[in-house]
């Protein structure tokens, strides 16, 4: 082999397959293809997320535009023409004549947005604090982990309500409805960081004593660079699992808060808000207003949770 030929062989990364293909062909991809639970729940999640994202284009009505609403359409049962207007709605309408199917699509948007953002926030906060606690040790670790322990003694929903209440008290009245979603994200995120911090701290304690970290320390890498470039990539797989399971919990937490009336405002109804509205009509016979948002929430949370459970088993070599 000539020198130049060797050079091209070295520099050309064409022999390295794309990352997606690598994952699909790995043990992990094989386990995924062979697991019906994983496949079905992944499909359900994808379907729900896509329809939520595409809501403005696929929803037959805009439930937030008062001009398109007709109060005469109120309480139309599913797939039955309205007695007065003759309009028909696939999943019926609520008391104000809003199409339930459309409100579910838009509500899922809010629920998923809050869920994803809250988990992302909790993840960033928890992973950062966990890394620092594990790597720095000493009183910094004690401080962070004791705060985490104290927070863990309260139910997450209580912590979220507390934070929600305090944050709402600090927002000016005229911005409350606009800020409600962000306050909700903050509250759920702050109530959920502890799990991330604990797992990351534990993994960091293991990793930081490995020799590759010492090798990086002795060449003079700073603590921040070691945490970010060496330790973080090696502690991420449990984080991925917790993030998935947390997503289901965050969606349910959001729905719970909204159901209790402290979450998403009526102007931006999430699935929880819709269920709260619907439960008022359950005993007067308008079951569809409650049932369909509930079923959507159930299938969303259940499939995300099943996916997370499967991911945990697939990434845990001890269970193989």
């Amino acid at each position: 082999m000539t020198d130049s030929a060797r050079q091209t062989q070295v520099t050309a990364p064409s022999s390295e397959p794309s990352r997606l293909k690598t994952v699909w062909e790995s043990d992990f991809g094989y386990a995924f293809r062979r697991s019906p639970v994983a496949l079905v729940s992944c499909l359900v999640v994808l379907f729900l997320v896509l329809s939520a994202v595409m809501a403005p284009w696929i929803a037959p009505h805009d439930p937030f535009n008062p001009v398109t609403l007709n109060l005469m359409n109120g309480f139309t049962p599913p797939s039955t023409p309205n007695a007065f207007t003759g309009d028909s709605f696939w999943l019926g309408t609520d008391d104000q004549g809003r199409d339930v199917f459309s409100t579910i699509l838009f509500g899922m948007r809010i629920s998923l947005f809050v869920g994803f953002s809250a988990v992302l926030f909790a993840m960033i906060l928890g992973v950062t604090l966990g890394l620092i606690a594990g790597y720095a040790g000493g009183w910094i670790e004690t401080l962070i982990m004791r705060v985490a322990d104290v927070q863990l003694t309260f139910p997450a929903i209580l912590v979220a309500m507390l934070i929600f209440g305090i944050a709402k008290g600090f927002t000016p009245v005229e911005y409350r409805d606009q800020m409600a979603i962000w306050v909700l994200i903050l509250a759920i995120g702050l109530s959920d960081w502890v799990q991330f911090a604990r797992v990351v701290r534990g993994a960091t304690l293991v990793e930081k004593n490995k020799e590759y970290v010492q090798a990086a320390r002795l060449i003079g890498r700073s603590g921040g660079a070691i945490m970010l470039r060496h330790i973080l990539p090696n502690v991420l797989s449990p984080v991925l699992v917790i993030a998935t399971i947390s997503l289901a919990l965050a969606i349910i937490a959001e729905a719970t808060l909204s159901f209790l009336g402290v979450g998403a405002p009526p102007t931006q109804p999430s699935l929880g808000t819709l269920i709260r509205i619907g439960q008022g009509f359950l005993f007067s016979g308008e079951w569809w207003i409650l049932l369909f948002p509930s079923v959507t929430l159930l299938s969303l949370a259940l499939s995300v949770n099943l996916l997370g459970d499967w991911l945990r088993d697939a990434l845990n070599p001890r269970l193989r």
Partner: protein, 335 residues
């Protein structure tokens, strides 16, 4: 000229329970003296070996020499600079890039998420150096192929990984490499390959090694000078020929006798007596006296100083007696 000068090096670890437990159970603080008053020099382009049992403090010394652990007392000067006292940042940086380390476990010393190319180039990249083609060049120098640069560590065997570690250690063109049991995690057949590689690289790069090992065979063939550690103290230091043919310290002699030998079949070998004592409560006087067959009352109350004796140093009151008895036993180191 010596590249490393170690004077009175001491390291104490605090192994007490957390303060709350101490306060409740009224326990005193507990200190573990891992290294105590160790002094030695390493000549440039030579191999200095530290040997001793587990817990004798050899790895602790290695970590202090490379700057991973701060000494509790004494000083380490590398090229005349004490890394822990030097205030000038540029000097510290320059000296740091002159020191590298090869670790014991080749499965833990390479970041599993990094490609070999980035692992090898890191010592240079960390200080903003030019790393183009560096990993490929070094991989070929350690006997791997340049195409391996794009692979991940899990695609290599233990011996190959140790070669990658050697390549990483060479990247910043260091003068001193501390090797902490570099072959003890490898198969015997691979050990020889890695050691030969290290020998060759020492000659071509003009390196100095501090070799930490418990394997006397490795040390005998590699080292220019050997220091024997017992419970954190240097008990004997000599050139390998002297040490293996006529050990002065009874502990050195026990180590040599305990080493397996090719011609040792059918021969009755006295197994080593006792175990290394608890370093939290070390014995009074000479730390070796509970295991020493020659111990006297003086050994139990006084600690022998490390005294120089014609090119070698030994810390034993009865070293002279040992030497006499050894003359009659040639071929002890005949491995």
């Amino acid at each position: 000229m010596s590249i490393v000068t170690v004077r009175g090096l001491t390291r104490v670890f605090d192994v007490s329970k957390p303060w709350l437990n101490r306060a409740i159970e009224r326990l005193p603080k507990r200190k573990l003296t891992a290294v105590s008053d160790v002094s030695f020099e390493i000549e440039e382009r030579s191999i200095y070996a530290l040997v001793g049992e587990s817990g004798s403090g050899k790895s602790t010394i290695g970590k202090m020499v490379v700057g991973l652990l701060k000494p509790s007392g004494g000083e380490i000067k590398i090229e005349g600079v004490d890394l822990f006292r030097e205030a000038d940042g540029d000097t510290v940086k320059r000296i740091r890039s002159d020191i590298q380390m090869i670790f014991q476990d080749p499965f833990a010393s390479l970041n599993p998420r990094w490609r070999v190319r980035d692992i090898i180039a890191e010592p240079v990249a960390a200080h903003g150096g030019d790393v183009k083609g560096l990993a490929e060049k070094l991989l070929e120098q350690v006997g791997l192929s340049a195409a391996d640069a794009g692979k991940f560590p899990h695609e290599f065997s233990g011996g190959q990984r140790q070669r990658i570690c050697v390549a990483r250690a060479l990247a910043s063109e260091p003068k001193l490499i501390v090797c902490d049991e570099p072959t003890s995690a490898l198969d015997v057949s691979v050990q020889a390959q890695v050691l030969n590689l290290m020998s060759d690289l020492k000659d071509s790069f003009g390196l100095t090694y501090l070799l930490i090992s418990h394997d006397l065979t490795v040390v005998q063939h590699m080292a220019d000078r050997i220091g024997v550690l017992y419970l954190g103290r240097l008990v004997e230091e000599a050139a390998p020929d002297d040490l293996f043919s006529a050990p002065l310290h009874p502990y050195t002699r026990m180590l040599l006798e305990a080493a397996p030998k090719i011609d040792g079949f059918g021969r009755d070998i006295e197994p080593p007596q006792g175990e290394i004592p608890d370093p939290i409560n070390p014995p009074t006087g000479c730390a070796y006296h509970p295991r020493c067959p020659l111990a006297t009352d003086q050994c139990k109350s006084e600690r022998p100083a490390l005294s120089a004796d014609g090119g070698r140093r030994v810390a034993c009151f009865r070293a002279g007696d040992m030497f006499q008895s050894n003359i009659r036993r040639p071929g002890l180191g005949g491995m």
